[in-house]
């Protein structure tokens, strides 16, 4: 039924303040790989592919080769993703495509965000620490046309999406806030979530400090330490693994812009094209999925993604949220681990948390928040400011 499947996963509990042993990023990465392979029951000697992102702090370049060397692997496929929060979903489908083409059979995809031991060479101030995801390097369009006006980072960009959305489709802020409140219900059923034991109401969300109008603090992810990984392999190897194979039945990706100003249409987001490709490839429709694990850096990201992925019509997202329970107990389960809004965002591993949750739900391993119906999952990744988006359709064997 597919050319590739996810056979194993690993995920670290979210922590505001890391309590474990400090290790190099490469060491954290290798730990995640080892745990995900053990979860699958696949011999590390069989690894012949890897996907990483820019979250390994020991090097700025030649990262895939460094990881292969560090882990002792000989690989036929090595990718470093640069799609921001869409990178984990991008890793999974690239691994699946490489496996489908016969390049490799066992691909480890991992993201880590845990602290390192203190370096003897303290980092100098890097402009990236101030200008974040917007390049301040001379000649970059962002340096010349965005940053001088204060357009940078993520909050204000997503806020403009939200403002535009509400201006076009109505100022129902309670429904937008409900996304965060519903997901918190699921976080409270997940002991690994940073907000475990801390439910919030819609009024709590609307009463939290305004950050960039109309977005408030509880609509924005909390940075945490953590990490996550999956093992993508052939359907045959997945069937021999320890848990239910999770087939990668469909995938898609779409990019249009870096800066919202230049998006072709702020309210037709790239995930629409990615979802259409993914569902068509899987031979399924949005109505067929049991759960949606939707990248949720902000509430507005979820709202736009629900709409543009086809779960409701354009402009119907607020009503959809108002009339569905998005928690794991609900009729339209979204981000059943709490989402990144409830679980925490461990850097790039935040996006992998959505993949891991889909895998664990399909495998029936989600504890108190396990869904009764858990065969098919839709997963998205979003990078930049609705800039780069990717989608997966995952189906249990």
């Amino acid at each position: 039924m597919s050319h590739a499947a996810i056979a194993g996963s690993a995920q670290r509990p979210a922590e505001r303040k890391y309590t474990g042993e400090r290790k190099l990023s490469l060491e954290h990465w290798a730990d995640l790989a080892a745990d995900a392979l053990a979860d699958a029951g696949i011999d590390p000697r069989d690894v012949d592919g890897l996907c990483c992102a820019g979250d390994v702090q020991e090097t700025d370049a030649f990262l895939p080769a460094t990881i292969a060397e560090f882990c002792g692997w000989s690989v036929n496929f090595a990718e470093r993703l640069d799609l921001g929060g869409a990178s984990p979903v991008g890793m999974v489908w690239r691994a699946a495509a490489a496996i489908a083409m016969g390049l490799c059979e066992v691909v480890v995809c991992a993201d880590t965000m845990r602290p390192r031991p203190p370096s003897p060479h303290p980092a100098k101030l890097d402009a990236r620490m101030v200008y974040g995801a917007s390049s301040s390097i001379w000649g970059s369009p962002q340096a010349e046309f965005e940053i001088p006006y204060g357009h940078l980072g993520q909050n204000s960009g997503y806020a403009m999406y939200a403002q535009r959305y509400h201006e076009c489709y109505g100022w129902d802020e309670r429904s937008r806030a409900k996304i965060a409140a519903d997901q918190r219900v699921s976080a409270c059923a997940n002991p690994d979530a940073v907000f475990y034991g801390q439910p919030v109401t819609i009024d709590d969300v609307l009463g939290s400090p305004m950050i960039s109008e109309p977005l408030r603090m509880l609509e924005i992810v909390m940075p945490v330490s953590g990490g996550a990984a999956v093992v993508v392999t052939t359907p045959e190897r997945a069937r021999a693994a320890r848990h239910r194979p999770v087939h990668i039945a469909g995938f898609g990706e779409h990019l249009t812009h870096k800066t919202p100003t230049y998006a072709p249409d702020l309210l037709q987001t790239p995930v629409g094209a990615a979802a259409a490709t993914a569902f068509a490839m899987a031979g399924l429709t949005p109505a067929d999925v049991d759960m949606a694990q939707i990248y949720d850096c902000y509430t507005i990201t979820v709202l736009l993604s629900i709409e543009d992925s086809g779960f409701c019509g354009k402009g119907e997202g607020l009503e959809f949220v108002r009339t569905h329970d998005l928690s794991f107990k609900g009729d339209f389960p979204v981000n059943t681990h709490g989402g990144q809004l409830g679980y925490g965002q461990a850097g790039m591993a935040g996006g992998m948390s959505q993949v891991v949750e889909a895998v664990r739900q399909i495998q029936g391993r989600s504890g108190d928040r396990q869904l009764a119906k858990h065969d098919t999952a839709y997963v998205t990744g979003t990078g930049g400011v609705m800039s780069e988006q990717a989608a997966l359709v995952l189906v249990g064997e």
Binding site: G150, R164, E213
Partner: protein, 147 residues
């Protein structure tokens, strides 16, 4: 990204958040200094191009020419920030960040100059404000057209 306390000394080492024009965009910045908005238009397909490039973003032709455009349009999207988007903008609070759309469809990243951000609505008409300063290129901000 590691989190650091930024000292004034560290901040002084940063590139300032001002435009450092590229050769391709120099005519755009030179025009702003003269209170003029110049944008590129493709001679091959007629599409407008912004920010400045050497090739058309519709047909990739190199046949781009500068045309003067009225600096007036509407607010396409905006946000009022309650936390600065970067520490270097902490003295400009609240930031009223906006995407302004011109009648020709071109969208610009800018800010809205207003004493009353709460009165702003998407779709409001705005007109250009050429913000000159001695120590940086002129920036094109906008203000509400009414009053």
């Amino acid at each position: 990204m590691p989190r650091y306390e930024l000292t004034p000394e560290m901040l002084a080492e940063l590139p300032r958040p001002i435009p450092y024009p590229t050769p391709t965009a120099q005519p755009f910045w030179d025009a702003l200094a003269r209170d003029e908005l110049l944008l590129q238009r493709c001679g091959a397909c007629g599409a407008w191009v912004h920010y400045p490039r050497r090739r058309c973003t519709t047909c990739m032709s190199e046949d781009l020419a500068w045309e003067a455009v009225e600096p007036a349009g509407t607010i396409h999207a905006f946000t009022v920030t309650h936390r600065p988007t970067a520490v270097v903008f902490a003295d400009q609070m609240p930031q009223v960040l906006a995407i302004v759309e011109l009648p020709n469809g071109v969208r610009l990243s800018t800010t809205i100059v207003t004493d009353d951000p709460a009165a702003l609505r998407g779709g409001d008409a705005v007109v250009g404000v050429f913000d000159h300063a001695d120590d940086r290129p002129t920036l094109l901000r906008f203000r509400p057209a009414r009053g």
